[in-house]
Symmetry: C4
Subunit: 197 residues, 4 copies
């Protein structure tokens, strides 16, 4: 009975705000010279990285939602659960940027990304559960290697944060690259589905 349109609209709104309020952590410096901008460079770096992550989530969310034919209460709450973890990204982004990537802040950043990835995985499982093992999403995901690889990489990023934070940084970039490479699974399945129907 619930419409897909409104859950998408609400998610769009929340993600649009998350991606935009992150920029508020780039606090306008009081001085007006280039030197005053220097301390902001790590904040800018963490902003750029988080911007890409949120954009990837928006993109994937869009694709996954297209396979949803009826929204159940479970899907709604799985989606809210995902939004909760994503809503914490501006905080962890600001902390990691302001403190120039201390161990603790990188640990928190990676942990929140891990929980968001888990929430996304749960959202997919909830959709598949209500739409059947032969649904478009179930077929498109297959074993969901990308999703599982991301979670393992985040775990590595969490571990490395105690020793060398730059390793964690490299790992975050690798995860982003994995997802930025176009993923045709769902698009293909949707197309095939349309053809056969």
């Amino acid at each position: 009975m619930m419409t897909r349109g409104r859950i998408e609209a609400f998610t769009d709104g929340v993600l649009a705000i998350i991606i935009t309020i992150m920029v508020l952590e780039l606090k306008v410096p009081h001085g007006g010279s280039f030197a005053d901008l220097m301390p902001l460079i790590p904040v800018f770096g963490s902003y750029l990285l988080s911007f890409i992550f949120i954009a990837i989530y928006w993109n994937n969310h869009h694709h996954v939602m297209q396979t949803v034919q009826h929204v159940t209460g479970g899907i709604l709450w799985a989606n809210m659960h995902l939004l909760f973890w994503l809503s914490l990204i501006p905080f962890s982004t600001g902390w990691v940027g302001e403190n120039h990537f201390t161990s603790a802040s990188v640990f928190l950043y990676a942990t929140i990304l891990l929980f968001a990835a888990i929430a996304y995985h749960i959202l997919q499982l909830t959709i598949i559960k209500s739409h059947g093992k032969h649904s478009i999403l179930a077929q498109a995901l297959g074993k969901d290697l990308k999703g599982k690889a991301s979670m393992i990489l985040y775990l590595l990023g969490i571990s490395s944060s105690f020793f060398k934070v730059w390793i964690s940084g490299i790992i975050f970039v690798i995860v982003a690259v994995i997802w930025l490479i176009p993923d045709k699974r769902i698009e293909k399945r949707l197309k095939n589905n349309h053809k056969t129907v």
Copy 2:
């Protein structure tokens, strides 16, 4: 003459912003160690609780609006009245979190939740008034035990805030749980209605 779509879009926008700006109360600490995160734990707790309340309101609002066939001026203003009280939740959430649940802050938090619940009740009554006692919403709500129970619980939470704030906290969790348990009333009615039509 007024369309349901735009009132939903506006409400979605306001709720998406409320749920997201609450996280701004989680102020990025200046220090970069785990110890610097400790003072934020009560703020995080109040954020989590309020996130769940807003999510519940969004979910219920979505269901109630689906029963609306024509938006009157009364429904519009009843909705604005609800949004007004919900818009104060980020403030009360921040206050209760920053002050580690003092009596006054818990009192305010519960009072705003009570007024939001009353506003929601008024919204439902306004819809029923304009759509008739045999409308989908009127039948689905019945005596609206959940709504009335919530209001009584908030009153208890307000009272207990003067003595033991942790009792108020438990009461808030109980209200959240009551609403998180799936409520099939409206969905059922809408389905039945579709079948008979």
Copy 3:
């Protein structure tokens, strides 16, 4: 060629954000007792007033837009002009509240409301210009007594701000009440129009 839907969606977004970020001026007090809330009472009062004004604008905007059949460049920019003045309301609301209604802050508050009213008037004229004197909006507005009365009242409110700010305050409330009383003009015309068509 431009669609009404997207101009409405953008306006909804901007108004939803304006109405919600105003609440950020209610800064969470450091103390946790009721006494710490006292200084916020004028801020709360100005927030409530501005919330009602934005809600009235959203409501009226919704009605006026329903009479638009094609969006011209002129309508788009007249709408942006209106949003510009409305976007300043959180600032003037915060200033008037934080300074407990000094002459200067009340003057600014009234001036921004006046410019918003003028911008709204221009928007209506632009729509009528492109849709013809016999269009739904032109007939519904007639001489637009409410719009003109508001502008005169704002001018009075600006003048009185130099002598007695409480007179300005009463004038603002009068304007709000004028608009809160249901205005059936456009709804009636749209209904009639549907009947004849």
Copy 4:
């Protein structure tokens, strides 16, 4: 497979937030007299200018998107790339306003505008690439003199920021005026297209 509607909704959301949070840089002064407003005049000036730029982008984005018949992954990421640069405008606007147009702040302001213009250009090229050289957008743009002129003007504005910042200011106003003059290219092509179809 991706729908144009959701990319438009997300862009609307982000632009609505960008245009509105910029006003938060107009920090409410502590004093309540007109003299306390004086330091805010340059901030207000930069806000007005940036408001117009974002409004122009929204307007143009709306037009360009109307020519899109299918959204590819490339279009999506080109759009995200544009939003990234636009999301930095509140920061550069705040900096340029708070520091009364120092060389460095004007340089940054112009640079971000330049990158946004380049991103917009890339978005157009990406759409044309996927829709063909005979598509509506390709024909409407022609040699895109306005786009190229803007980029050259921004380069001039960046250069002049080292010598005379008021020259940069004049250049920004010229760019805004160029775009404010109604551009009928896409509207015409869309109309012609409808006629022939």
